[in-house]
Every structure is written in C-alpha cells, then in structure tokens.
Amino acid sequence: MFKNYLKITWRNLLKNKGFTAINIAGLAVGMASAALILFWVQNEVSYDQFHTNKDRLYQMYNRSVFDGKMWCWGTTPKIMRSSLKQDYPQIEQVARTTRANFLFTLGEKHLVLAGNHTDPDFLTMFSFPLVKGNPKTALNEMKNIVLTEKTAKKLFGDEDPMGKTIKIDSVDYFTVTAVMKDLPNNTQFDFEYLMPWTYMEKVDKQVEKNWGNNSVQTWALLKPDITEAAANTQVKNITRSHSEIKDIDVFMHPATKWRLYSKFENGKIVGGRIETIRLFSIIAVFILLIACINFMNLSTARSEKRAKEVGIRKVVGASKGSLITQFLGESIMIAFLAGILALLIVQVSLSGFNNLTDKQLFIPYSNPVFWIISVSFILFTGVLSGSYPALYLSSFIPVKVLKGTFRAANAALSPRKVLVVTQFTFAIVLIISTIVVREQLEYAQNRDTGYKKNNLVYSFMSGNVEKNYKLIRNELLTSGAATSVSKTSAPMTEGWSDTWDFSWTGKQEGAKIDFNVYNTDGSFTQTMGLKIVEGRDIDAVKYPSDSLAIMLNQASVKIMGFKDPIGQIVKNGDTKMTVVGVVKDFILQSPYEPVKPMVIQGPKAWFNVIHYKLNEKNTTAQNLKLAEGVFKNFNSEYPFDYHFVDDEYAKKFKDEQRTGTLATLFAGLTIFISCLGLFGLATYMAQNRIKEIGVRKVLGASVIGVSSMLSKDFLKLVAIAFLIATPLAWYGMHTWLQGYTYRVPISIWVFITAAVVTIMISIITVSFQAIKAALANPVKSLRSE
C-alpha cells in the first residue's frame, strides 16, 4: 500500500510541476527561515550553560536606591572576594575578573592584546578546559600567564608555548603556564589570555580595600547543597557589615540567567534578551505556519482535481483512515523534499546570517541529535501542513464526486480564505514593524549629539603616552595633524565612571543622585565642538586654580537646582571643586535615553584617552600619518591605535540596526512565501472559473473587467488582513518603543505605506494570472468544458 501511495504521490508531483515547485519552494524557504532563527535561539539559550558547575555559579550583584528608584548592577568592590572567601563557608570558590590591556613583546613581535586579570579559582570554577597545564596551579604565581590557543598561535606559531617567556609592557617577563582551548562562541567571557590578579595589584601599586568603588566582576561557586535563597540571605549585608555604606544589598545572580535574564526593575529580574528570543521564536513559528498554510491552500484548491481519485479509492474499498494516511504521506514527502532544499538554503545563507547576527553559527552535521531534530521538524511540518488537506480531501463523498456534481465549497468564510487572511495579517504586521524599527533608528541617528563627531579621533594612553603627554600634545598641534587636543578619562562615546558622592549647597538630605563623571585637562569644548552655555572651559594654563575646576552639563545644573551655577562649590568627599562653566547637554551613552547629569572634572583627575581634532586642511590619511609619527616617536614599542568617534558612535545603533535588518529580512521572506501561495491560488482560481470567464466574455465582458473581477476577491482578503494587522502591529510596536525614552511617534503614514506596499505586491501577484485568464479565447474554454 505504501508503495502505491509513494508512486501516486511522485507521479502527482511530476504531473503538476508548477504546483510542486511553488509548494516545495514555499515550504523550503519557510523551513530554512525557521531553522536559521532556531539555530540563533539555540545559541542564545546555550550561553554559558556548558559549565559543569552552572547550577552553582553566580555573579555577585548590588542593589540600591537612587533618586527614588531601585537599581541593580553587577560590578563589585575588589575587596569583596577576600571577605566572601573568609567569612562565608557556604561559598566554595570565588574569582574576580577585570579587563587587562597589555603590550606583548616577543622578539620583533609587538601586539596589544586584551585579556582578563583573575584569581586562580577561575580555572576550576568555570569549564574552560586547558589543552596544556594544570588548572589548579596555572595562575598561582604573579608572573604566570594562560593563553588561549589562538593567542598562543599568534605569538608562538606552531612552537610549544609552555614554559616560554613573554615581555609584558616592556617591564615584566611572564611565563606561559597553560594553554586554554579557544572560548566557545556561546560564552559572555571574552579574553585572549588570563593573568593573575596579583599582577594588577602590583601595577596599581596597591591592594584596594575600598568598599565604595564598584569596578570589577566577582564570581562565586556555591557548595553543592546550598540554595540560592540561603546564600542570598547570607551575603545580603556583606557591604554593610564591612563598611560605612549602609544602603547597599548584595545578591547573587545565577549562571542560568546571566544571558537571558539580565534586566532588573525595582530590584527584580524582569527579563532581558529572553524577550528578543521569544519574539524571534514567535516569528519562526509564524513563518513556518505561513509556509504550511500555503501548502494547505494549494492542496485544497486543487481538490477538484483530486476528488475523482478519492471517490474511486473509496468505491474500491479505501477507508477514510487509509486516505488520510495517503494524503499525510504525500505532504510528508513534500516536506522531506522541502527539508533537503531548506538545508541547502541554510548552508548557503548561514555565513550571511552570521554576519548579520554577529555569531558563528554552523550546521552540526556530525551530531545525531541534529538529524533527529531535523527529521522530527520535517515530520512536524509535513503533518501540520498536510492535516487539513488530508481531512478535507478524505471526506469527499464518492457518489457526488463520481457523478460530477461535486463543486469545491465557495462559502463566505471558507477555511482557505481564513488562511490567506492569516498569512497576510502576519506579513502586514511584519511590514509595519519593519517600518517603525527603521524610523526609530533614523530618529535616534538624527538626534543632535551635542558635539561634532567628524574628524574627531581618540587614542588610548598606553605605555609612555601618559608620561610624554605634553610633548605629544605639542607635536600633534605643531605638526599640523590636529587643531586641538584634549586628554580625557574616557572616549567621548562611553561613560566609564559615575558616582553618587557629590554634594552641593541645597542638596536634599539623604538624596542619592548618580552623576556621570568625565575628566579633561583642558581644550575640551574646542576639541569636541561643544557649546558653552555659561562661563568658560577649564584651562589650567591660564587659570592655575583650574586643577580643581569643574564644568557641569545642563542636566546637572537642573538637578542641582543652581540658578547661577558659575562659582558654585561641588564637593566630592572632602575635595571642593568650583564650577567654571556649563556645557550644552551632549550624548555620552545611549542615544535613546535622556542625557544624564554629568560633572566634568579638571586636570587633577585621572586620564585614559587622548582626543584630537584632525586638521581639516589636510586629508585624513595625511593627518593619521603625521599623528602616527608623533605617537611612534614617544611610544615606539606600541602600535599606533586610533578610533574615529563617528565610527564608535555609529556602533551604538548596531543592535537596532540588526533588529531592523532582521525584521526587513523576515518581512520580505514572509511576503515572498505569502505571495507564492497567492500566486498558486490565483492560478487555480483562474482554471476553475475558466468556463465562467468564457461565458462572461461571450456576453461582452472586457479583459479589464474580467481581470479586475478575478483580482477583487483576493484584494478583499488582503484588505481584511490589513484591518486585523493594524491594531496588532500598533500595539506591538508601541510596546517595543516604550523601551526607549527617546522614541519616534508612530504616524499614520506607517500604516498607509504598509497598505500601499501590500496591495501593490498582491495586485502584481494576482493580476498576472487574472489577465492571462481574461485574455484566453472563450471559444476554446467553452469547448473544452
């Protein structure tokens, strides 16, 4: 019996090549899209879930109230680790991590590499396996270093790096004690090497014991029988009991939630990436559903052709069950063909998709689980898409179909129409969403940053740059590479420091207000192209007392409540600082959020970065060459590293850009699949109504009249879909936009555009068949009936 089914399925597929192509292409594109999304989801869900200890691993978090709102953050004081280790027997291991950026010198090789400082426990807490070396001892000595395989290869080529020495920052020699397997692509950790914590303390020349400076990450491994709740009760007061700080709770954020649940509101986890995962999973399910709907529509549209077969089979003894089996078998076979094609599509498009999503996804061909899931996925698709046609076709009554009195149902609310409406509803929701995401992106991109990004470059101060800063500054200006130079604490596009320790006259008792802290040695407004609203820039050359001068941004002035800010004293602990100027608000962090209050401190503070405005009289290449010469001159061992502020600023939109591109992609695919279905339906409709068209033409109907009559039915369905989609899309995008303080309003034009686009596409899809049917010679069609 199975052989018989297979035979007739195969012959049917060959006989109706157009139908087969549309069906398989639609299903394949749907399956491939769903598979790509599922690969992505799988990668996201698996983040840091490969650690053997994942159920016992936690990150230490703080919780406190600022300005009436509860905030949570994952940086901790450095001192927390020793306290956790000594006083909390329920904690088995503790390790801290913080960024390390050093110049590695090996013979003639000079490389600046990014790694982590960490404690020895790190290697045994986490499952980052070592290829060589002992995880228990590899970081025990101050000048030990663990390289990843990639880093080892970069430095040593094919030589065995174990026991070899590397010069770090031209001052210290480190011994390679272990080589670590390269980090997998599903971990939040990102380092090229690990260095002992003790080395950082040596570089910093101190062991910091301040409980108020939250600057590093602390990871803890609980003993096996300790619950999260119990541990949280224990650690809650750790900061309170060790310091004067009485308003910070400490809690533990479990490894199972690091990636997906990292958004806190009022001290509680409210979500995070899981929302995106859910959204895209829904999109995957819908795209697959749309492809299945196509299949259902086309199969039932062809029902008149299959009706006779069903009738005969029933007459000669087929039961309804055996017919259902037959039709399900057919759809599963089509799903299998589509599955093979989908696999090809995924393979071909994976690298593009990886670029888009910034991932390294791959098809795990050698993994049997992958094949089991794939086959189940195909069976599921086949059964899902074949179930309705199977039930529909198998229920034909032989007496009717064999007597020729059978006519496929054309009721007002036939399931087929419902399916088309469902498809287009989803497609229109995606179109509207795409437009809104893109508008929001453009809106934020067009927001005034408050400073001039073009020709603004920064370099990190590494090696001897800090020591030679004055000389470098002078040469950058005299060589003509730059027109203005300013030393700052952080790049112009990043907020590296904030504090709630400022106080001023008129500050409310007990108010806790967080300020961004930014430092400059002078020429700040000129270099950045900032506007001074009141007062002047910090200038320690002209005003020697300016070492303790500060500037405020407008947001600070507002929140501090200064009517006349110039000359006001702002205290940071015991240090008194005088306000000398107010700058117009500028975007330091998120372009989607209001500008935070900011205090810009004078030359007595700390510095990490040099910003310089390139000379507009030269070409960029000339300027960079001159600047490179200057840096090389005073910091010869380090490669010249520079960043354009406008490039860095553009990176702030990466997430939204990616969302926009993905939404466009999936909207496009959805439309494509829906239109394939519509095209197929229009084809069958034109065939089924061929006699009617003939009669109408004989009676005098025009080609335009007939083709618009045929198209009208479909456009009605698209219009209904639009009515359903509009409120859904509005609600969805309204909710999405709530995540941005600075957001675009949803205008009526979004909906009008979506409507026009959808209707145009549908008209093009349907009218081809409609016009073809209308042009046919009626004599032929009437005779053939």
């Binding site: 000669v316 003894g317 064999l402």
Partner: protein, 225 residues
C-alpha cells in the same frame, strides 16, 4: 441476496425537497442479472448507490446477504462493500496517475492481499479481459472500450458476489458496448450477481429481469425469456 423494503431517500436543498426513492421495495436473488430502467431523475442511480453502500437510505430496510445494513456506519459499509461488491461506471472512473495494472490492483491493496497474490490475480483478470498487452499503459492512452474493460477488470478482481454497473455502455460505441455486455453476461454465467442501470433497451435485453422505475417507485417488472 438483496431485499429492500419501503426504502426512502430524499434530497433537500434550502427550498425544495425531492423524493428520489418513494417506499421502494424489491428483491434480487443470487446469480440474477437485473436491469433497472427509467427516465432521468426516476431514482435509478440513487438506488444503485444505496445498493452499492455508497449512500444510505433515509428510511426503510436493506438486507444484504441476510444482514440488515440500513443503519451501518460508513466504516462498516466500506468494509462490507470492498469484499462483496464491484462497480462499473459509465465514465470508467480510472485513476489517471496509475497504470492499467495499478488501477486493477487497487481493490486488492485495500483488501490486504499480499503482493505476490496481487500480481497473479491482476494478470489473470487482465488476461481474461484481453488487455494484458496494455498493462503498463495509462488510462488516457487507451480507447473507451479498453478503458471500460480495465474498469470491469478492476470490478471483478476481488471476486465480488455482486457487480453494480451504472450505464456501462453509455460512453461507448455499439461494437465496444456489445463487447462489454458480453463480458458482463459471461461474469453472470460464472455466478456473479449483476445489477445494471441502463437507458438502453438493447443492453437491458442481456438481463434476466427489467425493473422499471418512475418517480422513485417500481412501475413494472419484465421477466426476460
């Protein structure tokens, strides 16, 4: 073999109710060859469909081989049908996507005959119908007469006790029509009961008995001699 009593069948649309069979009673004995005649719309085909268990009556009794089946559900009727009844249609009703051999094989598949047995039996019957040489052709490649032979082959391959033929010669020229009637007569002589609906007096003469219907009732019975 067949005994129907007071059989009624109505067709309803939103506005009208048509009586297709009006308290019809009749009997057919094993081994008989019965022709049913009457003008269009007299209920011939409805009767044949009910006799063939493709349709169920609204009222009345239908006893097949001593079993009352008027109340049987579709599954039971299908089961009874596939083991006992073969059909021959005016428009042949072959499946276009299957070859001659495969079309004839179909009923055997549904009654669960083993593959080797199927080949034997299909070949046997194709041979008997003299279309063995066409076994790998598709229906569209055959003449009308050949297609009806295939249809008859399919109807008899399961060795049914009863063959229901609905105007079997209606789409054939007279020579091919006569051939088909000869075939049916042969089958009847070998013991198969045949009930045939026809418009043709010529064809009806091959039968033992003609039942004439009008407005869903028997109006006359002719015994042929």
């Amino acid at each position: 073999m067949i005994k129907i009593t007071n059989l009624e069948k109505f067709y309803r649309t939103e506005e009208v109710e048509t009586i297709a069979l009006n308290k019809l009673s009749m009997e057919v004995n094993t081994g008989e060859f019965v022709a049913i005649m009457g003008p269009s719309g007299c209920g011939k085909s409805t009767l044949l469909n009910i006799l063939g268990m493709l349709d169920d009556p609204d009222n009345g009794s239908y006893v097949f081989n001593g079993v009352e089946i008027a109340h049987f559900n579709e599954r039971k009727r299908a089961d009874l049908r596939k083991h006992n009844i073969g059909f021959v249609f005016q428009s042949f009703n072959l499946i276009d996507e299957l070859t001659v051999f495969e079309n004839v094989e179909l009923p055997l598949i549904y009654t669960g005959v083993s593959s080797a047995d199927r080949v034997k039996r299909v070949e046997e019957v194709l041979d008997k119908m003299q279309i063995m040489h066409r076994r790998n052709h598709y229906p569209q490649q055959l003449s009308g007469g050949q297609q009806q032979r295939v249809a008859i082959a399919r109807a008899v391959v399961n060795k049914p006790k009863l063959i229901l033929a609905d105007e079997p010669t209606g789409n054939l020229d007279s020579s091919n029509g006569n051939d088909v009637m000869e075939l049916l007569t042969d089958l009847n002589e070998q013991g198969t009961t045949i009930i045939m609906v026809t418009h043709s007096e010529h064809d009806a003469r091959y039968s033992h008995r003609i039942i004439r219907l009008l407005d869903g009732q028997t109006v006359m019975e002719n015994i042929m001699v």
